[in-house]
């Protein structure tokens, strides 16, 4: 049997796969066989969107067995607990008529929320960036990806978008809880919202910078090894070692050296950027006292460089 010539769309019923009703009295068995596809082919943009969606789910272990969810969901829970506790205490205090006092005394505020959960965010990047890349490298699945309707850059940047979105959610979710919670607890809801609204750009700005920097840094490192454990250790080291080193340099010498070193330390950079977003003009190690905007620039530069390394790596990788 010869099929239709290549190049012509197959008939919708797929020629040889004609519906064969093999049934008699009772039911019918339909042998549909292989059928051609005459429907839409949405191309590259759809392919990339699908990659981002799938990878975002992978960041949270969705659609995977329970153990894949433990780390991401656990870290997200740890990052959210302070917000829940703060809201609970604030609600209780208001019930007891001590709302004003609590407001002043609470250690949990928008401006201190990022520094409070920074370690959870580092751990998330260290654990989930390798999760996104290692499997495809280790089992050579890249050959299947790269032979489809996407480009290599699409793969790299799609993965970056997905971990960026996941980290944005990680950082923003607790603060969104605080935002909504404070409004609901308040006696005058519109006034409470109006009170918090000006803080919104700072919350979102800091979250974007955090997601971009740690996401791209994590992936840029994870792209170089198919071994997940190595990648996780390396990412964590790249964040923690400079942090400790900067503190030590600051302790020993103080001054400019510590300041310069802190511009290469992701953790210090993000802490400095947080200071910028909440209106502190100066930031950095005690001895250095740099303009806080420097750290925003450092974060942007580091994120772009890391994303560049990631893309170049995937352009050259042998699938």
């Amino acid at each position: 049997m010869t099929g239709p010539t290549v190049g012509e769309p197959l008939p919708a019923d797929g020629g040889p796969g004609q519906v064969v009703a093999a049934g008699s009295a009772g039911g019918s068995i339909y042998d549909l066989g292989y059928r051609g596809y005459a429907g839409a082919r949405l191309g590259r943009r759809h392919a990339v969107a699908s990659l981002v969606r799938q990878s975002f789910r992978q960041c949270w272990g969705l659609g995977r067995p329970g153990r894949a969810k433990i780390v991401p969901i656990g870290l997200a829970a740890l990052a959210t607990i302070p917000a829940v506790v703060a809201l609970g205490v604030a609600a209780l205090a208001r019930q007891l008529g001590a709302g004003e006092m609590m407001e002043a005394a609470s250690p949990i505020r928008y401006e201190s929320y990022y520094p409070l959960i920074a370690n959870m965010v580092f751990l998330f990047a260290a654990a989930q960036a390798p999760e996104l890349l290692a499997r495809d490298m280790r089992h050579r699945v890249l050959a299947l990806y790269f032979s489809r309707a996407i480009r290599r850059e699409d793969y790299a940047l799609g993965k970056l978008a997905s971990i960026g979105l996941a980290m944005l959610l990680l950082v923003l979710f607790p603060q969104a809880l605080i935002f909504v919670g404070r409004a609901l607890i308040a006696a005058d809801i519109p006034a409470a919202i109006a009170d918090d609204l000006p803080t919104l750009p700072a919350i979102v700005g800091q979250a974007l910078l955090t997601a971009a920097l740690l996401g791209s840094l994590g992936l840029a490192i994870a792209a170089f090894t198919p071994r997940r454990a190595f990648a996780t250790a390396a990412i964590f080291a790249v964040v923690i070692v400079p942090l400790v080193a900067v503190a030590a340099i600051d302790e020993l010498t103080g001054g400019d050296l510590a300041g310069a070193a802190s511009l290469l330390s992701p953790a210090d950079i993000l802490e400095g950027a947080n200071d910028f977003f909440y209106g502190r003009g100066r930031a950095g190690p005690t001895g250095a006292d740099l303009p806080s905007v420097t750290y925003v620039a450092a974060a942007a530069v580091m994120a772009v460089v890391a994303a560049g390394v990631l893309v170049v790596r995937y352009r050259r990788i042998e699938p």
Binding site: L10, Y37, A40, R41, A47, S50
Partner: protein, 305 residues
């Protein structure tokens, strides 16, 4: 439409040349790409997919330049790599559906076709289980399914029977043959096993050390030849000498004589010569050319072939 067009395609890795000045035009069909290991088969396929950049020359798939329109080409091509490329923690359904979407199929269509195509390759209930627990045969079926799921116009199969036992090999080749003949999908099947190519393909491209040896319909390689194989119960040199004296091109090999015959009268000459020498003829058989001859330096019969 030309399926594949190569234009002085060359690929070098440092000082090693993988493909040398390959120029070729192929029409749709089931095409065997044959050559020993390291002949450049995989390199050629990877260039057609845009996975590798050629050092020089150009390659077109369905009249599209694979370098400039890589994503368009790849949306219409299915690829089965020579190595296993499956993550163990996904199920066949998850993997194949995801791959369908990455080829541009909408989500619902991707799921529908995943179910169809997995049934087509013979995976049923097990398709929901993680691939880690599959046998080699099942894994190869998943690989074929992901290559087929977006109903490609061209299927590039790189050693699809790798690691399969004889029965699995049969199944896979049957599946490939059916896919090509019944569904009208053009296929390039790379293999170092001539037998596989002979069974499945109707056109053949032979490359050796990166150079094109020959490209022609399979029939022209394996058709009947004008050569007759005469096997005797004694040394064949004397008979060979007589046949040569009678003006027939021949070659002797132990107890065998290979004779080039122009017409049926040659059979009489052989009979008479054998009778005159009083040697027993075990059999007289028309030689079929086999693909192996392609890679044999020696001509079939005394330089006349």
């Amino acid at each position: 439409m030309t399926l594949i067009r190569l234009d002085a395609l060359t690929k070098r890795y440092g000082r090693v040349t993988a493909l040398e000045d390959l120029t070729l035009e192929l029409e749709p069909g089931i095409i065997g790409l044959v050559g020993s290991n390291g002949a450049g088969k995989s390199t050629l396929i990877r260039i057609l997919l845009g996975l590798l950049a050629p050092t020089a020359g150009r390659a077109f798939v369905m009249d599209r330049d694979v370098r400039r329109e890589g994503t368009t080409v790849r949306a219409l091509v299915g690829y089965m790599p020579e190595h296993d490329a499956l993550a163990p923690d996904l199920s066949a359904t998850e993997l194949v559906a995801h791959m369908a979407e990455l080829s541009g199929l909408p989500r619902s269509a991707a799921r529908e076709r995943t179910a169809d195509v997995l049934r087509h390759v013979g995976l049923y209930e097990e398709r929901y289980r993680p691939i880690g627990g599959y046998s080699t045969g099942m894994r190869q079926r998943v690989m074929l399914a992901q290559a087929l799921v977006h109903d490609p116009r061209l299927l590039l199969l790189d050693e699809p029977t790798n690691g399969l036992d004889p029965a699995g090999r049969e199944d896979m080749l049957g599946l490939v043959r059916r896919t090509g003949t019944e569904f009208g999908i053009a296929i390039v099947l790379a293999s170092h096993l001539l037998g596989e190519i002979e069974r499945v393909c109707d056109y053949l491209v032979a490359i050796e050390a990166g150079r094109l040896v020959r490209a022609a319909p399979l029939a022209s390689f394996t058709g009947r030849t004008g050569v007759v194989h005469v096997e005797l119960d004694d040394d064949a040199a004397a008979l060979g000498g007589r046949l040569a004296a009678a003006g027939l091109a021949q070659r002797t090999d132990g107890r065998s004589v290979f004779v080039e015959l122009a017409d049926d009268a040659g059979y009489d000459t052989i009979r008479d010569a054998a009778a005159a020498l009083d040697v027993g003829v075990v059999r007289i058989e028309q030689e079929r050319r086999s693909l192996e001859d392609l890679f044999r330096d020696e001509p079939v019969a005394g330089g006349a072939a």
